[in-house]
Symmetry: D2
């Protein structure tokens, strides 16, 4: 199997796991919403991205792609994309100057629209390639970090075109936070420990969207779930869903497994570690590795045995208790499992494809600034996902449309 | 047992089911946030309202109460309230002129603040008692209908003081829509039919907050649940929660029990009725009795047998099938069961009590208009509810406060 | 509507809720398994029994029916049965001598087979009507109490014909204990108290089939469920299903609602009552009213307020706490709700109808004694129930039959 | 880390995951139930077995251990056991003659009791070492296959001492079939495919203990679960638990993921494979690899792509659909995940340790033959498991004992 075939195969596997994006690509092939447009993209060069590139090309776009991170570049995928007529400026493991040169090469296309993942391409456009700015009608940005930079640029009137923040839509949030994180967190814990969850007490710290998903899955495995929260409304909701709610100081005494997913630091601290049962397992599913105070754990321990199981370190306490830390306190679903299933990328890349088509039509009417994904795109993604699953829903009759309208104005 | 004692007993029973409002009353007794203020209220004169009146009086207010609906007035409760020093202008079953005279009598107090349920009192203030307007610092309105009228008044610059819309807070919505409606709908269906739900196919039309609650409870009884929707995002969410989603045309063939909770009309129509199984049960949990097309059912039927069970009518179709309509298509949880448990009123009246105290402090700074309940009041209600249930939650450490703050600004 | 019509209507309503028995009646009409046989029955004269009688008559039997309890006799149903050609010797509210005369009148038929509910008819046969014994080929007994008497008779070699114990089959146990009791217990508690279950702590004492059903339904309503047990294996199973397990001494401190379903006495005792929270609700779903020590409750209370809600008595403790006892500690599902749905009777009467047909065929080959319902009858009831619900299952292929057979002998 | 230390560490890790067996070992140390007894064992020489050996030695036994399978022997564990004073006759990967020589060496001890796993040691005792038979008071056998051989020996009056069948107790079945297989099957599927389960349709073929466990876990992940069965009673139970039940011919059209767990062959056949959706996933959790007709799949496929993911092969159908077969149709939980968690071994080895102590006391009174584990041992294991988890249960009062007794005799 040569390089091109290997890349081809990966793309085709990804495509089969991304039915919505595939359907959009097919429709784009008929409707050609991007005919004659040039797109410069700076994204992870992976099989999933390749499916997105394919959809945009089917829509009529000419594309140049650079890598948003040289570590994630799949050279075989890049090769297959080139064979498909997309200019890929990327190679695995290149150094920093080469990384930036690649972005410049992608920009050399003279893009009408741009796709970014971390804001590097947009940044270069606004600093080193201002000559191209006039031609750019709009862009998409994939990451929260990138959005924050773009909002600062907007506040300083520096941003010169409209950008759609494609990282957050209702459909993506469902797939990503609640159901994606829920499943992959438990998956990571099982791979790391092979512990039986039925009958165990699982403490879930945080009852946001992710925490809710984690709690549901732990309950679904037959665990007794205890929730900790700092927000009274979320805590009340947890009780109404049948969960026990306790402060961490109490939960620390009861848990067999602790999963932090709060977005805050030091949720599990020395005082909690001191109270835990022998054999307690500590896992983090929050974005940063600050939720479990690993430094405190290190200081308390008289011995640390690394790798008692894959991604599992054992900390021996002075009183002989042993605490098990998974994935060094980093995201357990990414480290010990495989992160989000392809279904999640299908949601977010589909929103991105539709946002690009929307920008193509609307760019002349849009002021510079950061835009949410229009709700109709979110609905369209949901609609296509249902269709891909073979699920039909109802449509409003004319009388129902009238009724809703009249009711909403209060008659 | 005399009238006063009967009223007293009902109030005391209600108070025990309203621990949050009771706790607020106790705190008001210490803090006296309403000292010297006059409050005119137009509310249902029931035991639950009496607990609210008690809390406000404990807070220092002088109160005059009229009935917002003469049909719901409990004379024994009114008597007990009078003995407690509250001026009650209400009697069960009075005629329309007396109803309005009672409101005028309540207004004669010369209120600083007003509580309304349907906007009648506020309306009279702005039309017939404009002399009192200058003294009124603010008000609360309980109903959606009233809020719509107040928003129209605001749009026309007619509203002369700030009004808090106390009908909708996150805590009330949880207790009311999702968990309250969920439970009471199933309760009503069991009382009406005594049907065993395990193993039956239940079709839930609508997957908003109420529909979600109904679906959860039906699943909790061992039913196979099918959801119908018109909104693709909600439909997708339903599938991710493990529900089957189908158009009503398909679901009609499969359901043993249909529950409409959409907020729209004619969700179950002639075409669906024609397709249903013999013995199918039809119930509505949406606000208005328009969701099931009862007229179509009447027209299709060759015979209607009223009252085969309490709140259950049997419609015989030309082909011999029999469909069972509960509560004539009106709200099954109110008609066949008892509507919301007292815990729901505890949430909304507690928000109302705290909103009154907030208005007392803020009224000088507030423009006329309709205000949402401030989020801190919602949190306070949740906090008190947890405390009443003996549930503790965590508090942020100083480091955590810092971290959240710094993170939110994007560092 | 005359008496006959009223009875007719009730029977037809019951028949529609008993699809399995109705299907058996239809098949009996074709196959005539009881042609020429005389059946004397002593059963509750209700609409459900009428459907059973109809099935047996359709099968070719000549029937005489007496009441097993004069209090449950529905005179209008009796009248409708007579019009259908069944000799009914029963009238509501008759005295004891008349009750026994009715049984004798039914026996005057000279039965080939007998149906009994409590063993009175069989007892009279073996004591006062021994002349008829030679003609009796077999019988069915409906109750546990009756079965105990029959086993004693067998032990003493007194029983003269085979009797099928139709009170206990796998399908009936499912419908009755687990799903029937589960649902009706929660139903009874809601009717009695209208309490919101989401977020409440429900203590279920006993994790047998009934307790399991009750726990599942309480969990299905969003309650936090705590199980108490005396059997370690059942307790372990409860933990593996995600329930908290605690001794009652601990659970007493935590519960908002207590449901006993153990089959034992004094499961909730003075020491537990003394520890409970203000407002705790006590309900029993076990067969006898001995599970909650009501005498202890009476002795502890300084005041008892009967009927604060239907089927709800309030006991005021010396320290001011108030405990609520439902249905005086008797079966809450029968007292405050309506007991088992018709679907349960459908299961047990269907087994009875098939057992009668089985006896008709096998009686010559059977020794006197008590027989379980043959497993093939249980499977047939389940099969018909699935068919009535429109559910198909797989059948073994010839290869699969061979494989199972060969595997079971250990090759 | 030398060999001994490596073995020591594994044993100590296993011991921490086996709290019940550890507690039994501690108790044995005090009570010395095996004082002076010689035990010959033929078991897998693994860390878990080492914990069992430790418990028996603590109880006073002198032990000789041979391997029941040379492939599973851990030499480092063997070394650590020798250091602990147990005679281990085993080495990884030895040839067949050596394997048998090891068993003979273990028997040279002249055992009072024997432990066997597959009946080889017992077989040699009854054929080649009959001189030792007189001294053997009893044994334990771990496997179903071994039990079948022992029952045949009993039928032929060949077995000379009592043997306890320790492979099946209620507690082991809970941990093993329902909760163990349930979790590990889903675990294996996630590791193999990383597919998101929420919103997918999962078809579970077979609703025995294992199927029930698999269905519960799939539901717990947010899947829509369809059950297929050949047994009407089990099928009915599945519907009452809220599952859809369908014949495989229908389910084949609907499923995204199929899991067979029936104990039968060809549950998924050519006709079903022909009907499945593109991308359908096939996994087996039944003991033998005959449940999915892999030969039919091979014959239908125009192309087979091995290893598209770990343990995942893709079969391309003539119409272009692609079916994914996991683990070549073998047990997915063992092949793609890690089989049972240590908690399962804790249950079965604890029953074995207690059975040995029971045999030590009872052997003089027992006839040759196969014995079930006495129920009190099962209860004791459950009791110890609850204690290890810190869970207390109730004990009967004297009055309750009396009541139960009197009730059971029917008064």
């Amino acid at each position: 199997m040569d390089v091109w075939e290997s890349g081809e195969r990966q793309i085709s596997w990804a495509a089969r796991s991304m039915p919505v994006l595939t359907a959009i690509g097919e429709r784009f092939g008929l409707e050609r919403p991007l005919d004659g447009l040039k797109i410069a993209a700076c994204l992870h060069v992976t099989a999933e991205t390749a499916v997105l590139m394919g959809a945009l090309k089917a829509g009529g776009a000419e594309i140049a792609l650079a890598a948003s991170n040289p570590l994630s570049t799949r050279d075989d995928v890049a090769e297959a994309l080139r064979a498909y007529g997309i200019a890929v400026h990327a190679r695995a493991g290149v150094d920093r100057p080469t990384y930036y040169r690649h972005i410049h090469q992608a920009l050399d296309l003279g893009p009408d629209l741009v796709l970014d993942d971390g804001c590097d391409l947009v940044n270069i456009l606004h600093t080193e390639r201002t000559d191209l700015l006039a031609g750019v009608g709009g862009g998409c940005e994939e990451t929260t970090t990138g959005i924050i930079r773009l909002r600062q640029m907007t506040a300083e009137h520096a941003l010169k075109f409209p950008v759609v923040a494609v990282n957050d839509t209702r459909t993506k949030r469902m797939f990503d936070n609640r159901y994606g994180t829920g499943q992959s967190t438990l998956d990571g814990i099982m791979r790391a420990t092979n512990v039986m969850l039925a009958g165990r007490t699982v403490v879930v710290a945080g009852f946001g969207f992710c925490g809710r998903g984690v709690a549901e899955r732990a309950k679904g495995f037959g665990a007794r779930v205890i929730v900790t929260e700092i927000d009274a409304v979320k805590a009340l909701d947890a009780t109404l869903q049948g969960y026990e709610v306790r402060p961490m100081a109490q939960a620390a005494l009861l848990g067999d497994l602790f999963i932090t997913v709060t977005g805050n630091r030091d949720v599990i601290r020395a005082e909690h570690l001191a109270a835990m049962k022998d054999g307690a397992i500590l896992a983090n599913a929050g974005h940063f590795d600050v939720e479990i105070d690993v430094r405190a754990l290190d200081e308390l321990a008289v011995e640390v045995i690394r790798g008692v199981r894959p991604n599992t370190d054992e900390y021996v306490m002075p009183d002989g208790r042993r605490l098990l830390l998974l994935a060094e306190g980093r995201l357990v679903n990414l480290t010990a499992a495989e992160g989000h299933p392809a279904a999640v990328m299908d949601m977010s890349f589909s929103a991105q494809a539709l946002a690009v088509a929307w920008l193509a039509g609307e760019r002349a009417r849009l002021e510079p600034g950061v835009y949410d994904v229009p709700p109709e795109i979110d609905h369209e993604v949901a609609r296509l996902k249902l269709a891909a699953t073979g699920i039909g829903i109802d449509e409003l009759t004319a009388e129902q449309e009238d009724y809703l309208h009249s009711w909403r104005v209060g008659s």
